[in-house]
């Protein structure tokens, strides 16, 4: 870059407020690419070069040394830049977005340094707008909302002053003369305007037509992989989940969870019955996967369909955790996906397999919401389902010997529940530790025979395999237990730490599948109320959830759901009104109707008078000012074109038009007002009464204001 002296082109014209406008543009140019630092859309080096050059530019502008590049410099820069960007697009990043961002940064920078005409400034402003839009579109983090808000405040302030600078191009001295203009936009109007725009943006965002599914690719970029709910669960990796503090689920219950919270918050996600090579797997093919379709209809969770359709509603928001399986409470009996959870309403369907797993057609890539109805007691699962697969022993002599030893005196075939309880009781006495070291091919045997330390998955796997060795069908279940009570409202956050594993044991045709949890109580996550210090994390988690659920993933389905709710609410309100109208207490015939109508009318008139009278309010005014305001009001009512802002001469002129009888007391009132307001003279004793009498005299003498 060069200074005006060195390279100032001969055709550069003097532009009013150039320095001020360049500084304003500079502030926007600094803000515009901020999201690019966090979105990995552009190399850091490019951004640093951009910011460095911009800082240098602004420094010079602040020192009144405004750079204005000449045509030759611009042409040379363009010639050098084009091959670089083409090469980068072709062989380097090979990303159109990246190339566009490069181009925008380059163009913006050079345009700022080569302002020669008024038009160039407008162009630079538009370029910055485009850079801002491009930057925002690369980010999927909720903090982008805060960024947009900050930019809105800064840009609004810049535009307010920009507009004035443009209008004062022919009279720049007016700007320096008027202090009030230089103080624009002012804190109050700025906040009011931006917040009004934001408030207006909310319904617009909700109802702008969505023709395509929400674009959410990249939302999970950079997040660690979670396993545990896929169709193969590696016990060694499962524990990784427990170190994750991300919010996986957000649960809102229709009624307080109360004493049953712990039971309600045991959420079953995936039951696996096949144990192969140290990995839990889904049942073999041929187990039969039933398809239960439905959109907006509850589907029963138990294969028998018992218990479906009753109980308390619980809304669950599930963030994308790389699974197709829906967690639901063990006490749940029916489930319904919200319409908004589907990209295409009407095409929703769910699969429920033999192990009562509820599966989506594909892995969701955004937060989905569904409702579960739950009761106070678990609905018995009496279908054998995958019991055959779940009864297959691993064939470990060590495990079999330990099981037989533990179950001495108990016949597992005859009393499977008793046998399961005995093993559960033994395992619960062992030690819980969250050690994630891989244990090798005989990890379960080592755990049972010697180590006797592990996390929930180790205990659940051991119990399942021990029971299988003695012929009791047992399946391994992953899910969530407990949660964190939300800081605001009646909801529970379920994080990675709440991931848990347990078993379901086939206890005969009468009892069906019964749940057992062999993990020592210290290893069973509970329902926690977090200390105050951690509430902040809940706030950010809440923001992230909100952004993910209601902004990033908001689509056509959500719009349909929203419209349905509005329709329901409207219908409900109308129904309420209808019922109220039909209530026996009000059915008293036309007299009651007339009375209600009269009351409503009176209320409207009262409100109207209050609103109209607000401008003539006299409360808090000194006696003469109050009398003057009343005089103005009286004149206004008589048809004079007066407002509270009318000057005394106008008021007096209006009164004089009513004749000498009215003019005399009016003049006395106006004089008293002027004396009090502008002369700073306090009212004398009896002044108030005198003014009242003058007003009465005026009212008595005044006729109708003559038509103009």
């Amino acid at each position: 870059m060069s200074t005006r002296n060195a390279t100032s082109p001969p055709d550069a014209e003097p532009i009013p407020f150039l320095r001020e406008r360049l500084l304003a543009l500079g502030s926007l140019a600094l803000l515009a690419p901020v999201p690019l630092f966090f979105s990995n859309a552009l190399e850091l080096a490019v951004l640093v070069v951009y910011l460095g050059a911009l800082a240098l530019f602004l420094l010079r502008v602040r020192r009144h040394r405004i750079p204005r590049l000449g045509n030759r410099v611009l042409n040379l820069a363009g010639l050098l830049y084009v091959p670089v960007v083409v090469m980068d697009a072709r062989f380097g990043s090979q990303s159109l977005l990246k190339t566009m961002l490069h181009l925008l940064l380059f163009t913006t920078l050079f345009k700022l340094a080569a302002i020669r005409k008024e038009h160039d400034l407008s162009l630079a402003l538009v370029l910055l707008g485009m850079l801002f839009v491009a930057s925002v579109s690369t980010s999927f983090h909720y903090a982008i909302l805060l960024y947009v808000l900050v930019v809105a405040f800064v840009a609004w302030g810049v535009l307010v002053r920009w507009a004035l600078w443009r209008d004062l191009a022919t009279a720049p001295e007016e700007w320096s003369r008027d202090r009030a203009a230089r103080a624009l936009p002012g804190r109050g109007p700025l906040v009011t305007s931006v917040l009004s725009a934001v408030l207006l943006a909310v319904p617009l965002f909700l109802f702008l037509p969505r023709l395509k599914a929400p674009y959410v690719r990249g939302a999970e970029t950079g997040r660690e992989i979670t396993t545990g709910f896929s169709e193969n669960v590696d016990p060694d990796l499962f524990g990784v989940l427990k170190q994750n503090d991300r919010v996986f689920l957000r649960i809102t219950s229709e009624e307080p969870l109360g004493e049953n919270a712990r039971a309600v918050l045991r959420l079953r996600t995936l039951a696996l019955s096949r144990w192969e090579g140290g990995i839990w797997k889904k049942p073999s093919k041929g187990e039969g996967t039933g398809v239960v379709a439905g959109n907006a209809a509850f589907i029963p969770l138990a294969p028998s369909g018992r218990g479906a359709g009753g109980g308390v509603a619980m809304t669950i928001d599930l963030t994308p955790i790389q699974t197709r399986y829906l967690p639901y409470p063990l006490l749940g009996n029916a489930l319904r996906l919200s319409e908004g959870s589907f990209r295409n309403p009407g095409l929703a369907y769910l699969e429920r397999d033999a192990a009562r797993n509820v599966r989506l057609p594909r892995e969701p890539d955004r937060t989905i919401q569904y409702t579960v109805l739950y009761g106070m007691r678990e609905v018995p699962d009496l279908a054998r389902g995958d019991a055959a697969e779940a009864g297959r022993a691993a064939g470990s002599s060590a495990l079999r010997a330990f099981a037989l030893e533990t179950l001495r005196g108990i016949d597992p075939a005859a009393h499977p529940e008793e046998a399961a309880r005995a093993i559960e009781s033994v395992l619960r006495g062992w030690t819980y530790e969250l050690d994630l070291q891989p244990r090798g091919p005989n990890a379960v045997e080592d755990f049972v025979v010697s180590r006797r330390k592990g996390h929930c998955q180790t205990f659940a796997t051991a119990m399942a395999l021990l029971l299988r060795e003695v012929g009791v069908p047992t399946r391994f279940v992953t899910g969530f237990l407990g949660g964190e009570i939300g800081a605001f409202g009646r909801y529970v956050l379920v994080r990675g730490q709440n991931v848990h594993a347990w078993v379901e044991v086939w206890c005969g045709e009468a009892r069906g599948w019964v749940t057992f949890d062999p993990t020592p109580s210290v290893g069973q996550p509970g329902l926690e109320s977090v200390p105050l210090a951690q509430r902040l994390r809940q706030v950010t988690d809440g923001l992230e959830f909100f952004y993910d659920r209601f902004i990033l993933s908001f689509g056509q389905g959500d719009q349909a759901e929203l419209l349905r709710r509005i329709r329901e609410a409207t219908g409900g309100a109308l129904d309420l009104l209808h019922r109220a109208g039909a209530a026996p207490a009000l059915r008293r015939g036309p007299a009651t109707g007339a009375a209600v109508a009269a009351l409503l009318l009176a209320a409207l008139v009262f409100l109207g008078r209050r609103l109209r009278g607000a401008r003539w309010r006299t409360r808090g005014l000194e006696p003469a000012s109050a009398a003057y305001r009343r005089l103005q009001k009286a004149l206004h009512r008589l048809g004079a074109p007066l407002t509270p802002a009318s000057v005394p001469a106008e008021t007096l002129a209006a009164a004089t038009a009513l004749g000498p009888g009215a003019a005399r007391p009016a003049e006395a009132i106006v004089r008293a007002y002027v004396r009090e307001s502008f002369g700073g003279l306090a009212a004398a004793d009896g002044e108030e009464r005198r003014l009242r009498e003058l007003l009465d005299e005026f009212r008595g003498a005044a006729g109708r204001f003559p038509a103009p």
């Binding site: 617009l204 674009y215 401008r615 802002a645």
Partner: protein
């Protein structure tokens, strides 16, 4: 009134709206982002589109309210001379309930705008404005344009405020450096015959007394006699002077004649004012019309008014009525050597 006109009036009652370049750019950017949002389904872009549209609405509403309920008044002096800057006072009163910001007023399309940064509700702000009326005659400022790009300059909204303020612009008086003396004096009139006054001629010399104006001291005589001698001036009051202006426009007259006529009107004004200042009773002969000699402020205004409105005559008018008594006639204008 057609339905469309009624609707237009309802939507924009007297408000002039213009989309600025920035506004156009903003609208185009909004459209581009809207297309991109619809095409990609990127809700980040939907957030921006919504915010842009929200800003458009807020900007539209605020800009309209900002120019509504503002009373405009322009007050100026009674005496205005063509080509001479006159100080007017422009008053804006905010009749609304919210402050008005960044209001601009244009008195004529070519003039620079006058800025009112902020006017609080019920308050009046005023600014002095120097106006120049280039031509004499009846001139009116029919309207003022009040406009503003506030808040963010996407729209420039304004309102034309009718003033119906017609003013009489007097001809610019040409400075007359030398007024020819009364022709009778040239013939040998004695100033001592006249009574004492503030005229230019010296009537008598006498010794200074209490209350004499120091400016009247006659220094050469004072030096000579060794005591203060003051001049007694002769009064010119009561002597009538007529300024005559030939208004007949020859058939072959061109634009140059018109210019010369305007110069003559200015010269006549200058002469008349100079004579009035000298204490004479001054009258005007404008073609066939006569303004009888007189003096005083009202007469001065009358003379200027007549000169402000005088127009070239196509036909010769009747001879002016005779003025009784002694009258000195001063002819204004450089013609007839060129125009006649």
């Amino acid at each position: 009134m057609t339905f469309g006109a009624r609707l237009q009036k309802l939507l924009h009652p007297g408000i002039l709206v213009r989309v600025t370049n920035i506004g156009l750019g903003f609208i185009l950017l909004t459209l581009v982002v809207a297309v991109a949002a619809t095409n990609t389904g990127n809700n980040g872009l939907y957030v921006l589109v919504s915010l842009f549209l929200g800003a458009l609405v807020v900007s539209g509403v605020v800009s309209r309210r900002n120019v509504e309920n503002v009373a405009v008044a322009l007050d100026g002096p009674a005496e205005i001379f063509a080509g001479v800057p006159v100080r007017f006072t422009l008053r804006l009163t905010n009749l609304g309930r919210l402050p008005r910001r960044a209001l601009l007023v244009k008195i004529s399309s070519a003039a620079a705008p006058i800025l009112f940064g902020r006017i609080d509700p019920g308050r009046t702000a005023e600014r002095g404005v120097d106006l120049v009326f280039p031509k004499r005659g009846r001139r009116s400022i029919e309207s003022l344009l009040l406009y503003s790009g506030y808040p963010i300059g996407l729209f420039r909204k304004g309102r034309v405020h009718p003033l119906e303020d017609e003013r009489l612009v007097y001809p610019a008086p040409t400075r007359v450096p030398y007024v020819p003396p009364d022709p009778r004096e040239a013939e040998g009139g004695d100033p001592r015959d006249r009574r004492q006054g503030r005229g230019a001629e010296i009537r008598n010399l006498r010794e200074a007394g209490f209350g004499d104006d120091p400016r009247d001291v006659h220094w050469p005589q004072t030096a000579r006699q060794g005591k203060f001698i003051v001049k007694e001036r002769a009064s010119e009051e009561g002597r009538d002077a007529l300024v005559a202006l030939d208004t007949l426009r020859p058939r072959a007259a061109d634009a140059e004649w018109d210019k010369a006529f305007e110069r003559s009107v200015s010269e006549a004004a200058g002469l008349a004012l100079r004579l009035l200042a000298r204490g004479s009773r001054v009258g005007l002969v404008l073609g066939g019309a006569l303004v009888r000699p007189g003096s005083g402020p009202a007469h001065r205004r009358g003379l200027l008014r007549a000169l402000a409105l005088v127009e070239p005559a196509r036909e010769p008018g009747p001879a002016p009525l005779a003025i009784p008594g002694s009258v000195a006639v001063y002819r204004a204008g450089p013609w007839p050597e060129k125009a006649a």
